[in-house]
């Protein structure tokens, strides 16, 4: 019976579980419950990806009302792929968070933490799966509200101002999306994405539609922290609890990138957005500036979480760069990087959280001598760091490989060279931290016996991600197959001619 409802399950599982987790009330109980639910939705997402790869698009009419009158859920290879990444990371982070948040969040708020986490997961999956432009806004707000809450649970008072800034920026972004959707609706009379796509072509050069496109792009860019609208991200990631940062860094912005891809390719049509509006040049320029400016910012920070946060903005630049290449390979590189970046940033932030668990600080000075004291954590950090740089045999290499290939396909040597130079900056900021960890001594005033390995519940998910980093770096067949079929699916949906020079 459940098979026909497969598409709706990833949303409603966490959605229904959230209030139940609140009722359970006990920290341990709600942790177990939330992890179980998240694991279940991970399993469902896997089933969905398998189904989407074999059968193509799955459509589900909520309430039994056919689209465009009711709300439709649509699962295709692209969003099933991102969905799997999101729910898998969520499960791992939940396992990790049991010990981590005990250190960082006061006991009475643990249940609220798990409830908010489940709400955030429900919102993110809703954004991915829904086929209705307004429904997307609703789920966006669920995930955003839960995110503001999660960020504000941090132990430093600066988390409050970070959360407030995030709230203001996020709400402006959501309101821009609302305006954009309104303008589209006004011109076409429908909210269903598929129906919108088919009716938008009548009005392709309409000023109203183009303004709507612009507003949606700006709104989504705020949500995905595209340079120069990224100002909310570094403080939020720095001051949120470690488990929250690990979750958000590897899911929230990725989902927003997917939303951008979805609006560009399945609603407006790549041809219109790129060839007629020239958005690809704008996106490409912003992406390149993001890569360099934020990688540079990462090299001069002293807080390791801030380093990684700026690195995230730079990595988002790579994803957008992939999209802006307007080719199947470029889009595929973007999609693979969504998945891969989730793996590496998840592992990195978990390792940083582990350091905080033992040392109580995430300043770069706190990393001194940790290579000896916490070998497993630092090994995980090293491998994930190498992956960010893009060393062969890690997933980072795979993403960069396809990105460079995509650029070279169009004989765009400039872009290919810039990608490689960007990696050098990553060497600098990751290298600084590794240098402190392996080549400097533990400060005299710390007792070596207190700084030891973290509990295995924190190590296990961290290493699961690290192993995934290596596994998907060596055996690329699964990710590339899923990503290439997703990219091809997105492109053939509107017969665009690839740009070739």
């Amino acid at each position: 019976m459940l098979e026909q409802h497969l598409a709706v399950l990833p949303i409603i599982l966490p959605l229904i579980a959230a209030p139940i987790a609140l009722i359970l009330g006990r920290s341990l109980l709600s942790w177990g419950f939330a992890t179980l639910i998240s694991g279940l939705s991970c399993f469902v997402s896997w089933q969905l990806l398998v189904a989407a790869l074999s059968e193509g698009v799955l459509s589900y009419a909520v309430g039994g009302w056919p689209a465009p009158w009711g709300i439709e859920l649509r699962v295709d290879a692209a969003n099933a792929f991102v969905l799997l990444a999101v729910s898998a990371i969520s499960t791992l982070v939940l396992i990790y968070s049991k010990d981590s948040i005990e250190k960082e969040i006061e006991k009475s708020k643990h249940t609220l933490f798990y409830t908010a986490h489940l709400l955030c997961l429900a919102g993110l999956t809703g954004i991915l799966i829904t086929g209705d432009a307004f429904n997307l806004f609703v789920f966006l707000e669920i995930s955003s509200l839960a995110t503001y809450t999660l960020v504000s649970l941090g132990s430093d008072r600066r988390c409050l101002t970070a959360a407030f800034r995030y709230l203001v920026m996020g709400t402006i972004g959501a309101t821009f999306i609302l305006i954009g959707v309104g303008l589209l609706y006004m011109k076409t009379g429908t909210l269903n994405m598929l129906d919108l796509a088919s009716r938008i072509h009548f009005y392709e050069s309409s000023r109203t539609i183009n303004t709507g496109l612009a507003f949606i792009m700006v709104g989504v860019s705020i949500k995905l922290a595209l340079f120069p609208l990224h100002m909310w991200l570094p403080p939020a990631y720095t001051h949120a609890p470690s488990a929250v940062t690990a979750f958000l860094a590897s899911t929230a912005t990725k989902v927003a990138v997917y939303v951008m891809i979805r609006f560009i390719f399945t609603i407006f049509g790549a041809d219109h957005v790129f060839n007629e509006m020239g958005m690809d040049l704008i996106l490409m320029a912003l992406a390149i500036v993001a890569i360099f400016k934020c990688s540079y910012m990462a090299t001069v920070q002293s807080n390791v979480k801030t380093v990684l946060a700026y690195s995230s903005v730079a990595q988002i630049g790579y994803m957008i760069l992939g999209v802006s290449l307007v080719s199947v390979t470029g889009l595929m590189a973007g999609l693979i990087h969504i998945f891969n970046h989730a793996l590496m940033k998840g592992a990195l932030f978990m390792a940083v959280g582990a350091v905080f668990y033992r040392v109580g600080s995430v300043d770069i000075k706190a990393f001194r001598g940790l290579g000896k004291q916490m070998p497993l954590t630092m090994a995980a950090f090293t491998i994930a760091g190498l992956s960010i740089i893009g060393v062969p045999l890690t997933v980072g290499f795979v993403s960069k490989w396809y990105l460079v290939t995509g650029a070279l396909e169009q004989n765009n040597w400039m872009i290919a060279a810039l990608v490689l130079v960007g990696s050098l900056l990553a060497v600098v900021y990751i290298g600084r931290i590794l240098e402190a960890a392996y080549f400097q001594k533990l400060p005299e005033d710390t007792d070596p016996s207190t700084v030891k390995e973290v509990p295995w519940l924190m190590l296990a998910p961290m290493w699961a991600l690290v192993i995934a980093n290596i596994y998907f770096g060596i055996d690329t067949s699964i990710t590339t197959e899923a990503a290439s079929s997703a990219a091809e699916w997105l492109f053939q949906n509107n017969n665009v001619q690839e740009v070739s020079q």
Partner: protein, 118 residues
Amino acid sequence: MNLILDYYNYWIVVFLMMTGFYIVISANNLVKKIVGLNIFQTSVFMLYISMGKVTGGTAPIVVEGVTQYSNPLPHVLILTAIVVGVATTAVGLSLIVRIKRAYGTVEENEFENKDDAI
């Protein structure tokens, strides 16, 4: 003239939206920022409701003898959006209360000075 009759409503609504937006990005006091955000959102709601209006129509509740109704769909969307707006406002205001307690001020430039950058 026709242009004005057709669009005057939208233009004023755009002006209102931009006033709200200006308050959000220029205000230094956090409470005022939230007020601006609310004005911005309320004006966007007006944009939606304006497009749902049919001249000569009535409220979309079935009444004997009425054939021309205004469009119910924008109303439904905005009902949802209003509630989303108040939810955001509540969370934002409680953040302000906490910020006041932690920093002793709700002026953006003042608490920014109290912490190092980031």
